[in-house]
Amino acid sequence: MTPVGLQHYLVVSVLLFCLGLLGVLVRRNVLVIYMSLELMLNAANLALTAFSRFNNNLDGQIIVFFIITVAASEVAVGLALIVALYRRRHTTHVEDMTALKN
């Protein structure tokens, strides 16, 4: 078995990132889309931590901190917004969000 190196971690991170992207592209429920976006952020966190370890530079882990904190605040606002929309429209489907058209 080859020793696990930076590339292994990066490949996992890229695959996770593209999984998130796929979720954003194909799922139609706003909540699941939002979870897919969290997958993308987590992929970036993994890449940053791996780079941090292999470059011997802790700055990457600090950036992960910032990402986690900002993601938490973003989720709080985003979910409040989704709940507010659900109260008015009774839907969380992007296909039902067609009021803004010509």
Binding site: N57, G60, F66, A84, L85, L100
Partner: protein, 481 residues
């Protein structure tokens, strides 16, 4: 570490917190005065930045190189502050359509403004991310502020999803840049620029970062949110998105390209010419059939992002000077148009509400006409001179690379197409059947003054551009080409 560098930002944040606190002891019917307080405060900060704040010469960096105060940052901060004053005044006019939380509305506008000012001074990818998120989170709230209108909420959710997607791309790009360069500071990354430009992983990271920023400036391929969100958001917020968010996106694009990765920018001229050409064509062609004024301005905003990208794609100092000049003129032009929309388009923003505007209020009709003329790029207003500068920069580059010629042709075609829909608006004001609503429109004194200032600024920028041009020329000394 030098906290005095942050004086402008700290003043804005302090003002925001003061408004939030005073709101607690303000009776409901007096809450709009908080808006006047915020506008007055911002005006004082703007004047202070013009006379006594440091000129940004020589550029000063602080906070471990995170923050830079130079001519470029100050130029944009003044645009943001001026836009902030106008947006807050629009918010006061808009108060009857904001059912609750007027004090918080002004607070979040001020916080948003602080985020934009930090973006203008960002000198590190971490600061880029944090400032962008500060802007995004504030905009989620501002866009969906009219909770009782489902348009507003729908626009908020659309902005939320696409903004979070662009943040995901940005963060992954920053991760790759950090991994390949070992640092996130612009100066350190630039110092290793030539080596990194060979590294495909670094290029991929820079590309992802630029895609994330393309969202803020609403350029192809991240432009699809603009029309929907512009239409659904409360009008003052739409104005702030069009003026502030776009300018903040462009200052970050300029910094990332010409401060952090000048070696890379040289290879990417083609990428930017394509982005500019597609953005111009998309915005102008889709704007033609629009009936909703705010939606029309959404597409026009995409088209304008394309024009401004011409200056970036030119990859030369005149191009960047033109970007700065154009954004200054664009801010005043859009401010005047959105003030008119705040007053006129109350229940619907269909183009039919403009019918008979010249009899309901000749002042508003004139202001809207001048705004549209400036957007269309007809002399002698600011929009004309800005476009002229952008075209000149591109043609200068065309002398070196022939491929820039067709870019200039596409841009001129775009301008010609845009005449159609801009004059459609003017026609609706002067030559249309009388509308159902013919009562005169009362304009409050602060808005009259701000419209006067904007119109004066449009003429001033168009007729004697020298002062602003020399300021812009000083500002772009921070960039390397």
């Amino acid at each position: 570490m030098n906290p005095a560098m942050l004086s402008l930002e700290l003043a804005v944040i302090g003002l925001a917190l003061a408004v939030l606190l005073i709101d607690l002891w303000t009776l409901h019917e007096f809450k709009h005065r908080l808006g006047y307080l915020a506008a007055a405060g911002l005006l004082v900060i703007l004047v202070a930045s013009l006379c006594c704040a440091s000129t940004g010469e020589p550029p000063a960096t602080g906070f471990s190189g995170m923050f830079v105060q130079d001519g470029l940052a100050l130029f944009f901060k003044r645009i943001f502050l001026a836009a902030g004053v106008l947006v807050v005044l629009m918010g006061v006019e808009f108060r009857d359509r904001i059912p609750m939380g007027l004090g918080e509305f002004f607070t979040i506008i001020l916080m948003e403004l602080a985020g934009m000012m930090f973006a203008a001074s960002a000198n590190d990818f971490v600061m880029v991310y944090v400032a962008m998120e500060m802007m995004s989170v504030s905009f989620y709230i501002l866009i969906s502020f009219q909770r009782s209108r489902s348009y507003s909420l729908e626009a908020g959710v659309k902005y939320l999803i696409l903004s979070a997607l662009s943040a995901g791309l940005l963060v992954f790009g920053i991760a790759l840049i950090f991994g390949t360069s070992g640092r996130t500071n612009f100066a350190v990354v630039a110092a290793e620029g030539t080596r990194l430009a060979q590294n495909k992983l670094f290029c991929l990271g820079a590309l992802l970062v630029l895609l994330g920023l393309a969202f803020k400036i609403s350029a192809v391929p991240m432009q699809m949110w603009a029309p929907d969100v512009y239409q659904g958001a409360p009008t003052p917020v739409t104005a702030f998105l069009a003026i502030g968010s776009k300018a903040a996106g462009f200052v970050l694009v300029l910094r990332v390209l010409f401060v952090a990765a000048p070696a890379l920018a040289l290879h990417w001229g083609k990428l930017f010419t394509w982005a500019a050409a597609l953005t111009i064509l998309y915005g102008n062609l889709c704007a033609i059939p629009q009936r909703s004024l705010k939606r029309l301005l959404g597409y026009s905003s995409i088209a304008n992002a394309g024009y401004i990208l011409l200056g970036v794609a030119a990859l030369n100092p005149p191009g960047s000077v033109a970007v700065l000049y154009y954004l200054a003129g664009y801010a005043f032009t859009l401010a005047v148009i959105f003030i008119v929309l705040c007053l006129v388009a109350r229940d619907s923003d269909d183009i039919a509400v403009l019918a008979g505007l010249n009899r309901r209020s000749p002042l508003l009709a004139l202001a809207l006409t001048l705004g549209m003329i400036s957007l269309a790029g007809i002399p002698p207003l600011a929009g004309f001179f800005g476009k002229l500068l952008l075209f000149k920069a591109v043609l200068e580059q065309a002398a070196v690379h022939r491929s820039y010629l067709w870019l200039a042709l596409v841009a001129i075609a775009g301008v010609v197409i845009s005449y159609y829909y801009y004059f459609g608006v003017i026609r609706a004001v002067y030559w249309s059947e009388e509308g159902p609503e013919m009562t005169p429109i009362a304009v409050s004194a602060p808005l009259k003054v701000s419209m006067g200032v904007c119109i004066a600024a449009m003429f001033y920028l168009g007729l004697c551009p020298d002062a602003v041009l020399s300021a812009a020329a000083k500002a772009v000394q921070a960039l390397r080409f």
